[in-house]
Amino acid sequence: MDTRSFIDVIVFVAGGLLFPIISFGIARLLAPHNPTPEKLTTYECGVPVIGDSRVRFPVHYYVFALLFVVFDVETAFLYPWAVVFKQLGLFALVEALIFIAILVVGLVYAWKKKVLRWV
């Protein structure tokens, strides 16, 4: 990557973050501000808040996250292959197909072991 790419990315990130933040600043100047204790309670359909909201979550969410990491890394490996795919020819194709086949075995494994079932 040349310097220009970096400049562009940095400018876009800065712009994307600054626009909301500046807008919030403007809103702060325009909007009224009079907090009352009632207003500052957490919303829970109008009834008093019960317990903490940061409770333990079902493990399924994390299992999906774990599976995602595996597959996402694997797909990231396919990207470089896709670019030079035409130059490498049949050999690379067969290798990639083996790679995908192993991925599929992983998916089938998770599926059969009922990891993908949302109870």
Partner: protein, 476 residues
């Protein structure tokens, strides 16, 4: 062609995938076929080593070395994997472990270890390290109903991932300093790099792989993990991943860090001191244990210390002392664990007391156990003696007589705890202990390994020559 030379790896990969599919496809009561397939896979992979014999080349874009050192390690790992199948067969059935998972994890761990030992590219070493580590974390926790097994897995996982991270950081430093991940290429450029950074990189690598082999001061996870994990897994851990990490240390340190003139002497001394502390700590602590698995865990720390003697003594002598010791240790340690599993298969916890009267319950097993212990201590004519002798001679050649003396003293200390087990099995009667009913697999493993310990001792010359041939090459 390249693919013939990596045939064992290909066979193992296919075996692993077949095992996964078998695990999914077979009904619960037909899972007995799974270990058989794994065993056949290991044997086929051993046969697949054929084309690699006598080769000395680099395949797969210079990333994979096929030389006699890698041949040595690949043979060792495949044999260890096969033995692990034998010793776990009955155990897995009895404890209702998840058989499908266990055997494909075993296959993939072995594959990872082979990757680690047959390359001098840091990336591939790391790849193998992760493949073998991640599979083995799960293997340690295979007994789902045992809290201890879970504890073992968690400790192994936490320590192991820290170790991987540290090793990776060291590798990235080497890459940053040299611009290459190939150790052979890196050596020359490391000499030009700032010494402080080279030392840092070396320390990170040593710490990372030191955690994996479990040398002092990175040994703290060993006792809990070895005690909690299922015994066949412990048997496998104590020789397989340990040897793989040792192979990585050999490749990285022997090739680069110990070769650097500015650092060589200091590193040797440091490793020598660590070796002395490892063996003394391991042996003395083992004296206090009543659980045989835990005792053997401490003993394994001591044995890592012995192996480090060979590395500390390296420059004047060759690698063959370390390699011979690794092979000897694999045979005798697997053997002693096989006996422990045999006793456990009778439904007893692996306390020393469980060995009561073993000589009357199963004389052949008791004799085999005695052979393994003699070998672990280093008594002739077992293989342990010849291997330890090589280490001693290496230390003397390197003008580290003090290290040799410590080695000898430690061997004497180790008699203390090994004897405590032998004593109860020969001198106490078997009253109130059930008679031994051994499955053929475990008996075969015990007998094979006992014969190996004796015969290999007698033919130790051949082993020496074989290991020595690869060494010149690794040393260049």
């Amino acid at each position: 062609m390249d693919y013939m030379l990596i045939l064992p790896e290909i066979i193992l990969t296919i075996t692993g995938i077949v095992l996964i599919l078998l695990d999914l496809g077979l009904a619960e009561d037909r899972k007995g076929a799974v270990p058989a397939v794994a065993g056949i896979g290991f044997l086929a992979a051993l046969a697949g080593l054929g084309p690699s014999v006598g080769q000395n080349t680099q395949v797969l874009w210079q990333m994979y070395s096929i030389d006699s050192v890698s041949l040595f390690f690949r043979t060792l790992f495949l044999a260890v994997g096969f033995m692990a199948v034998l010793v776990s067969w009955e155990y897995a059935r009895r404890t209702k472990m998840a058989i499908g998972e266990f055997y494909h994890l075993l296959v993939f761990t072995t594959l990872g270890m082979m990757l680690m030992a047959s390359t001098h590219n840091l990336i591939v070493i790391y790849l193998g390290l992760e493949l073998s580590s991640i599979s083995s974390y799960v293997m340690a926790g295979m007994l789902q109903d045992e809290p201890r097994s879970g504890e073992a897995a968690l400790k192994y996982f936490l320590i192991g991932s820290v170790a991987s991270a540290i090793a990776l950081f060291g590798m990235s430093l080497v890459y940053g300093l040299t611009g290459t991940t190939d150790i052979v290429d890196a050596v020359g450029r490391l000499q030009l790099a700032p010494p402080a950074l080279v030392v840092t990189a070396g320390l990170f690598l040593l710490a990372g792989f030191g955690l994996k082999v479990g040398m002092v001061p990175f040994h703290m996870w060993i006792p809990d993990t070895y005690q909690g994990a299922p015994t066949p897994v412990t048997a496998f851990f104590s020789v397989g991943p340990k040897a793989a990490a040792m192979a990585a240390i050999l490749r990285i340190f022997v090739l680069s860090f110990l070769g650097l003139p500015a650092l060589g002497a200091g590193w040797r001394l440091m490793i020598a001191v660590l070796a002395a502390i490892s063996m003394t700590f391991g042996n003395v602590t083992a004296l206090l244990q009543t659980n045989v698995k835990r005792m053997l865990a401490y003993s394994s720390i001591a044995h890592v210390g012995y192996m480090l003697v060979g590395i500390a003594a390296l420059p004047p002598r060759d690698l063959s002392a370390v390699l011979t010791y690794l092979a000897a240790y694999a045979i005798m340690n697997l053997g002693i664990f096989a006996v422990v599993i045999l006793v456990e298969d009778q439904g007893q916890a692996p306390e020393i007391d469980a060995f009561r009267g073993l000589a009357y319950r199963a004389p052949w097993a008791a004799v085999a156990m005695a052979v393994f212990f003699l070998s672990l201590v280093g008594v002739p004519p077992t293989i342990g003696f010849f291997a330890k002798l090589q280490l001693f001679l290496a230390a003397v050649d390197a003008h580290m007589v003090w290290l040799g003396v410590i080695l000898g003293i430690n061997s004497a200390i180790s008699v203390g705890y090994y004897y405590s087990v032998v004593k109860v099995s020969f001198l106490r009667d078997a009253e109130g202990v059930p008679p031994v009913r051994a499955a053929w697999t475990i008996s075969a493993a015990v007998v094979l390994l006992a014969v190996g310990t004796l015969v290999a001792g007698i033919y130790s010359d051949t082993i020496l020559r074989w290991t020595a041939s690869g060494v010149t090459l690794l040393m260049r």
